[in-house]
Symmetry: C2
Subunit: 211 residues, 2 copies
Amino acid sequence: MRDIVIIGHKAKTSGDISLNDLPGSAGRMDILCRCVSSALFLSFGMRRDVIVHLLLLGDPDPGKIIRFEGLHLRYLNPDERSSGSLIQKALQKDATEQDIRSTPGVWIRRGDFKSLLSEFEGRTLLYLREDGEDIRELSSEIRDPVFVLGDHTGVTEEEEKQLLEAGAKIISVGPISLHSNHCITLVHNELDRAEAKRGESPGEADCRVED
Amino acid sequence: MRDIVIIGHKAKTSGDISLNDLPGSAGRMDILCRCVSSALFLSFGMRRDVIVHLLLLGDPDPGKIIRFEGLHLRYLNPDERSSGSLIQKALQKDATEQDIRSTPGVWIRRGDFKSLLSEFEGRTLLYLREDGEDIRELSSEIRDPVFVLGDHTGVTEEEEKQLLEAGAKIISVGPISLHSNHCITLVHNELDRAEAKRGESPGEADCRVED
């Protein structure tokens, strides 16, 4: 399993976002949409072994977590409007502390970064930062990882503190600073290569289930 | 310099495409939009050493080439609508065999795959296919490359024949088949790493020019 957390510090938390203005009035929701697509799509199918967690911290009701589970997902296409539309549908639900399913494979609940991190106890927590250890040096050892990425504003000092307290390792994907969705593509490629080297089947694209 | 060619077999060739329906009525223009973004964006700036060539082969007027030059580009944001809007503006021009500039850093002309390939004589032509040689085995030797990628339908037999006749080498970026924009991110990362290893400054993000 690969879990990917993206923190959207400005991402709107009401269901009235406009799919025609994801970067603007929706609070750079375009970044989260591209991350969903990079995290979940293969050329001919979906990564069924991936779960994406979007932490939405923008107005008017900050602290919502939308989860995309590759294993159960339907109605997602690779374009930004498509993931934006599933995010919009999730935000139109009355979110509580308990998961509510908005569409197949998509759930929403209330929560903050700390509550999200607490779900991953015992997992390999990896935090992407430009000056981290090169993922190529350690990709062969990574099992069952949780990757945490910021948005265009990065990760706050407080979030970084929580990450390090939770035992996160700081890793990087290359010599220059890239967009979060590009980092996700690079992380997947490293793990795909490591899995293929071990004789495993990377991507697990074929283990589709109906729900 | 890194040139990236993407062939859009269904991509519409008239200026009336809808930015609200890039995957549908615009003929999978969303794929080309994501490729433009992956090819040109760094976290804090643009890859000034990259030129993107979109070959549009869809109805109603197939055979148009839109060129994005990182060195001169303006008004491009990373979201799909933004590149879609610049493509739309280019398509609204009366294209001829000669370049016409539609917005800063974007040009359009009439042309087919053969005429486009003829521009790259003497360059290192690299064609991405799942069963090619692993780019990691040769990235340190790559200089001044031209990468050619297909869309969701890949590359036709005829295009492949033309590529091989032009001396293209077939390369792959990993063990599973990925979307074209993800391949572009991976290709850039390999070259960035190779350039950094040689003490060069990858991305050339800072050589902005005004035009």
